[in-house]
């Protein structure tokens, strides 16, 4: 529907903006990951806890790659 199209367009625009901010801030996030994280925030997940989890997962992934 038209309303859904508007929502999608706005969401994409919002995601674009957020992605630009993430690039400016050097967050190292691609758009898919950023969309998931925004969804988590929208679902009430604490952003700081989420950020801590993401950082920990990155470290673990780097360790796994190093081990491999």
């Amino acid at each position: 529907t038209t309303m859904d199209n508007v929502a999608v367009y706005q969401a994409k625009e919002t995601l674009d903006i957020a992605h630009e901010i993430s690039k400016l801030l050097d967050c190292g996030l691609d758009k898919e990951s950023l969309a998931i994280l925004i969804a988590l925030c929208e679902n009430g997940v604490n952003p700081e806890a989420l950020a801590a989890v993401v950082k920990e997962l990155r470290r673990e992934a780097a360790a796994l790659q190093a081990d491999a």
Partner: protein, 1217 residues
């Protein structure tokens, strides 16, 4: 309902976390992997662990709920941080993006999603300062031409855009939105035409159209760029890499999202970026150099790519009103502009504040602002270099020599007159400073060498070097430190050089009033060193107090220049303190110069001491022309040099002076380094020499290299002549343009060096076989022969190399500049002065017999040799009494006129008596009679100004007693007559350094008082013995008539005897022993002179000749009492004379003036004399008593006990009775 909602949300979160794990850790559960994947169980376990970890830690944590205000604060802090680092473009982009992001509406019940997302991004932010992101990227991403002014219209028209996704023209509603297009900043012409709103609006529409076309380009295939705009070059953003293989639709299509009944973020397709498209060969090349730089993948790629992004907008605008704007572009690129700026900084091109070029992606204002610092630095460096070259291109000052040597002097060097003056040019200090300035300019330019190499494309040759052409931002960052230090150099040049010279336009010195157009070299040197000294302190205070991020560079730069400039001055000072010569100061910079007696009076004589070398004084205020930090010690240092000359003169020139342990320049350098290294132990400091810093080379190599580079140490002394080393035969590297015998200094122009050398040869100061030793130079090659580096020069180079890289010198807690220079420059010189003074004092005590001369003065003036003093005093007293007898023996009192002419009519008799007394004495302390003389001064005319002085009576001692002053003052007049005697003892040189001529007056004042005291005591003793003849004792009723006369005579005897013994004891025993001790301990002639002055002060006080008020009060009444004693004796003589005339009286004991008849003093007169005496004595005792009440004065306490006869008379009894 609520529970189902929560469960659904939890389910969503769990699923989303699974996505997060899948994307970040790259593990998937079994259900998601294909059947061929191996090992699935391990993947399941890993995924479960990671998922559980995420679920647990996002549910159970200690983080507070997101506070939007704190998020705002964090954003503000980030903005401020970006501003501090001058990343204003990024700051602006952040503002734009956040403002736009906050206008997004969220269809969720979770509060503050904006703040949550921004907080998340801030938490995940790694290093925002590193990213290459500008507001241009933000504008391109937002599809705006400026700060979101058309957002509302965009939102309003969003549905229309979706419905007509393939449209090309923007919505006309955007016309209602205000616009402050940045195009107005691109050209000044645009600003001038800003009133034409319609044209500006059309231009803006064109730009919008171009931006929209760019955003739609991947779909339409109009143009494709090979790299996504604004993507970091380091590949941290991998969205493009992972999307290459996807075949997904453009965002405008919205197909997938439209089919989803409920929008979900995780379902959103984000791979619609045009950057994901493959590079197109039809890419528009806007600048070949930019392409070349981009191909290297350097740091300039982002800026180049960003510049290229806006060119479609320009191309779109070209067809409209923007045609003139784009047409103004002359093909310049950022690389070219930056290269030009670097060339200007290197001095290879003139510094231009306005580059005169335009680049596509920057407005002229932005470009000018970006280049401003570099242009300022280039202009400043150029100015400093010109000032330095102006000094170095000028010949050094020439020492004036005798007129016989004037023949053949080059034109331009005025005729010379007297010895010692210098004319023309700049002295070694100024030249060393200029050379140091030039060296600093070179250093600053060398710091920019890497950028210059990159600009020239030379740096790409290295393996793995991907740096492209330097960008404007890199230039700005690199020039920041250079500009700051260049400003410091400029300020120092302005302060240390004359104003016109600091601009580099005054090489001829045409503004000076002195002949030849140059100021006094000493004034120039003093101004230079003083300015550098003050600059050190100012920069140190600024860097330590304000914390302005200077990092101590200003202080170190100032200190390095001061150290370099001070070397010639310290060298000249060293020569002065070591040899007592000023030949090491050919430029006339030192504060000591040859005086009128130099070359006239013999060295070692008093005349040469006084006039051989004098302070070089300022004509304006008479102050010594010297650097500020030496001003307080110039007299001491002048005396030290003269002492060295005196010590070296000796007998037949065989004297020796102590050798200096080290050169002042070496001491200076060592002290500076030690002071700045106080936080490090010596071992560490030594170790630091070896490994000063990771980037610092070996200390020896650094020293050698610094010495080689240091032009300040290559300047010529122009007068220190040494034997010429033989020319090297196999030399094939010398500059054959210069004739043998000339030294071409690297620190001066070739012409100037040749002119200087030729002028010196013509003046006779240098011959064709003479080498001009470098003043502070090293490596002065003469005809190719190696010249060993003196220790002083190596120390200076070593210090400069250390200061250049030392962190200790830049520490805010380093030694204050004032004490640093005092410790480094002043203290060693003063230590040398002290050593010389000690040596001279030893010679004064031992070779020149200072102690014997002081003993002679004591014997002659203070009666130290008792027999000679008694003999001389007796002779003098006889002359006084003979005058009375020869005057006719008038029975009445003599008139005042006759009193003033008492005795000493013939000074030769007194001199003969003195010579006999000295010759007869065998104590050995007395000087040769030919060195001692006594003069008789004419009678003093009563002068109120002399009231209170020695010999002057403060008031009539007779008061209201009714006694006529004529008859009462006879004895006192004889005392006054003694004050007309003036002794003199010849003081041999150099003992006059300790006992100057001015001491004679004080010695004579003491001698007069002691003679008067001796005279009063002798008179009283004579009066008491006159009636001791047997005949008088047999006379009926006795001769001691009257109790007043008897009592007065006893009191007078006691008073004069006690006072005489007290004074003699204090003067000849206490004070003298202290003088001997002080002279033995004296470490310099100054100490001995002060000890002697102290001795004279004590002696004058005891002899009532001190200007101290206490002793002045005592002097009048004490002298009155002594006068009364003499008057009593005179009255007794008059009584005897009357008795003889009347045939009465008794035979008296033989004595001068008594004849043969003795008669007692009439009782009435004795009573009056007793009253006057007791008043005077009481006054003296009261003064002493009052003085003792306010302090402890052992000598006064002893005097009171003696005069008061242990309290017998009482303080007030006698005077008032």
């Amino acid at each position: 309902m609520a529970s189902s909602f929560s469960a659904k949300r939890a389910e969503n979160v769990s699923a989303l976390l699974g996505e997060v794990v899948k994307r970040l850790v790259d593990v998937e559960p079994h259900s998601l992997t294909g059947p061929t994947d191996q090992p699935t169980q391990e993947h399941d376990e890993n995924f479960g662990i990671a998922h559980n970890y995420c679920a647990y830690h996002t549910r159970h944590h200690t983080f507070p709920d997101t506070d939007p205000y704190k998020v705002d604060d964090a954003l503000d802090a980030l903005r401020e941080r970006l501003g501090i680092h001058a990343q204003l473009d990024k700051q602006l982009a952040l503002d734009m993006l956040v403002a736009r992001f906050r206008r997004v509406e969220w269809r969720t019940d979770t509060p503050d999603v904006h703040a949550r997302v921004i907080s998340l991004l801030l938490e995940l932010s790694r290093n925002p300062l590193r990213t290459k992101y500008t507001h241009i990227d933000a504008m391109a991403a937002l599809g705006e031409d400026d700060l979101g002014t058309n957002d509302a219209s965009d939102r309003d028209q969003a549905s229309d855009r979706d419905q007509a996704s393939d449209r090309d023209e923007p919505d006309d509603d955007v016309d209602d939105a205000t616009s402050d297009s940045t195009l107005s900043d691109w050209t000044d012409d645009e600003e001038e035409d800003g009133d034409d709103d319609a044209r500006a609006e059309r231009l803006r529409l064109g730009v919008e159209e171009a931006v929209a076309a760019r955003r739609d380009a991947p779909r339409g295939g109009e143009w494709v760029r090979g790299r996504r705009s604004g993507a970091p070059a380091d590949g941290t953003d991998d969205d493009g890499d992972g999307d290459d293989g996807d075949e997904k639709s453009a965002p405008g299509d919205g197909d997938d999202a439209a089919t989803d009944p409920e929008f979900r973020w995780s379902d959103l397709r984000v791979d619609d970026e045009p950057a994901c498209a493959a590079p197109d060969r039809d890419e528009w090349e806007w600048d070949p150099r930019a392409t070349r730089g981009r191909s290297r993948g350097g740091a300039g790629d982002a800026v180049v790519a960003a510049a290229a992004r806006l060119l479609p907008a320009l191309a779109s605008a070209r067809g409209r009103e923007g045609a003139t704007l784009v047409g103004a572009w002359d093909g310049s690129t950022e690389s070219k502009v930056v290269g030009d700026a670097l060339h200007a900084l290197q001095g290879a091109a003139p510094a231009r504040r306005a580059p005169g070029a335009a680049v596509p992606h920057l407005s002229p204002a932005a470009l000018a602002a970006g280049l401003e610092r570099a242009a300022d630095a280039a202009a400043t460096l150029d100015l400093v270099e010109r000032a330095a070259n102006a000094v170095l291109a000028t010949p050094a000052p020439v020492l004036r020599v005798s007129s016989q040597n004037n023949a053949g002097r080059r034109s331009g060097y005025p005729s010379l007159g007297s010895v010692g003056a210098s004319i023309g040019g700049f002295g070694p200090t100024i030249r060393a400073f200029a050379a140091a300035l030039a060296r600093h300019v070179r250093e600053l330019r060398e710091e920019l060498a890497p950028l210059v190499q990159r600009a020239a494309g030379l740096a790409a040759g290295g393996a793995g070097d991907k740096a492209g052409a330097p960008t404007l931002l890199e230039l700005r960052a690199a020039v920041r430190s250079v500009a700051a230090r260049a400003r410091v150099l400029d300020s120092l040049a302005a302060a240390a050089l004359r104003p016109r010279l600091a601009t580099g336009f005054n090489s001829g010195g045409e503004t000076s009033k002195r002949p030849g157009g140059f100021d006094c070299p000493a004034s120039n040197a003093a101004r230079c060193l003083t300015a550098l000294h003050r600059a050190c302190a100012a920069h140190q205070m600024t860097s330590s107090c304000a914390g302005d991020g200077d990092g101590g560079d200003g202080f170190v730069t100032s200190l390095r220049l001061l150290c370099s400039a001070a070397q010639p001055y310290l060298s000249a000072l060293h020569r002065w303190l070591e040899r007592g010569e000023v030949v090491a100061d050919p430029g006339g910079e030192l504060f000591v110069c040859a005086g009128p007696e130099e070359g006239v009076a013999a060295i070692g004589t008093e005349a040469h001491w006084e006039g051989g070398f004098v302070l070089r004084r300022n004509n304006a205020d008479g102050s010594a022309t010297c650097p500020e930090f030496l001003a307080r010690h110039v007299d001491e240092l002048l005396a030290a040099g003269k002492s060295v000359r005196l010590l070296r003169s000796g007998a037949g020139g065989a004297g020796t002076a102590p050798k200096m342990e080290s050169h002042l320049c070496v001491d200076f350098c060592d002290a500076v380094r030690r002071a700045l290294e106080t936080s490090r132990v010596p071992e560490d400091a030594d170790a630091g020499k070896e490994n000063a810093s990771p980037g610092m080379e070996n200390s020896a190599d650094a020293t050698t290299r610094a010495a080689e580079d240091d032009e300040s140490v290559r300047l010529l002394s122009s007068a220190t002549l040494e034997a010429c080393p033989p020319p090297r035969v196999d030399d094939d590297t010398d500059d054959h343009d210069h004739a043998p015998g000339f030294v071409v200094s690297a620190g001066m122009g070739t012409d100037a060096a040749a002119a200087e050398a030729e002028s010196l040869v013509a003046a006779g100061l240098a011959g064709s076989t003479a080498r001009l030793a470098p003043f502070v130079g090293e490596r002065a090659e003469w005809s190719g022969t190696h010249f060993d580096v003196p220790r002083s020069i190596a120390a200076a180079a070593e210090l400069d190399a250390w200061l250049r890289t030392s962190a200790d010198a830049r520490s805010p807690a380093t030694c204050p500049a004032g004490s640093l220079i005092a410790r480094a420059a002043v203290a060693p010189a003063r230590a040398r002065a002290a050593a010389v003074g000690s040596a001279l004092m030893s010679r004064l005590r031992e070779d020149w017999r200072l102690g014997a001369h002081l003993a002679a003065l004591r014997a002659v003036f203070l009666g130290g040799a008792g027999e000679a003093a008694h003999s001389f005093a007796s002779s003098v007293f006889e002359r006084l009494d003979e005058t009375r007898v020869s005057g006719g023996g008038d029975l009445d009192a003599p008139s005042s006129e006759s009193c003033s002419l008492l005795g000493f009519a013939d000074a030769s008799e007194i001199n003969a008596a003195l010579a006999d007394a000295l010759a007869a004495d065998g104590c050995g302390d007395l000087p040769d009679p030919s060195d001692v003389a006594v003069d008789v001064m004419p009678p003093l005319i009563a002068d109120p100004a002399h009231a209170g002085a020695v010999g002057a009576r403060r008031r009539s001692i007779w008061g209201d007693s009714g006694v006529g002053s004529e008859s009462a003052g006879e004895g006192a007049a004889r005392l006054d007559a003694l004050s007309r005697l003036r002794l003199s003892v010849k003081t041999p040189w150099p003992l006059a350094l300790v006992v100057p001529e001015s001491c004679a007056d004080r010695y004579n004042a003491c001698a007069t008082f002691l003679l008067q005291l001796r005279r009063a005591r002798a008179s009283v003793e004579e009066a008491s013995r006159a009636g001791w003849t047997p005949e008088a004792r047999r006379a009926p009723g006795g001769v001691l008539s009257g109790p007043h006369a008897r009592a007065l005579l006893a009191e007078l005897r006691h008073f004069t005897q006690a006072l005489h013994e007290h004074v003699i004891g204090r003067v000849l025993h206490h004070a003298w022993l202290e003088l001997e001790r002080d002279v033995a301990d004296a470490r310099s002639p100054g100490d001995a002179r002060r000890a002697h002055d102290k001795f004279l002060d004590v002696v004058c006080a005891q002899c009532l000749a001190s200007p101290d008020p206490t002793w002045t009060l005592l002097a009048g009444q004490t002298r009155a009492a002594l006068g009364i004693a003499c008057d009593f004796a005179a009255a007794q003589r008059r009584a005897g004379a009357k008795a003889r005339a009347s045939g009465e009286g008794w035979e008296a004991s033989p004595g001068p003036g008594y004849g043969s008849i003795y008669a007692p003093v009439p009782e009435g007169e004795a009573e009056r004399l007793a009253g006057a005496f007791r008043r005077a004595r009481s006054y003296v005792l009261r003064v002493i008593e009052s003085k003792l009440r306010v302090g402890t004065y052992p000598e006064l306490h002893e005097l009171r006990l003696r005069l008061d006869f242990n309290g017998y008379y009482g303080t007030d009894a006698g005077g008032e009775s």
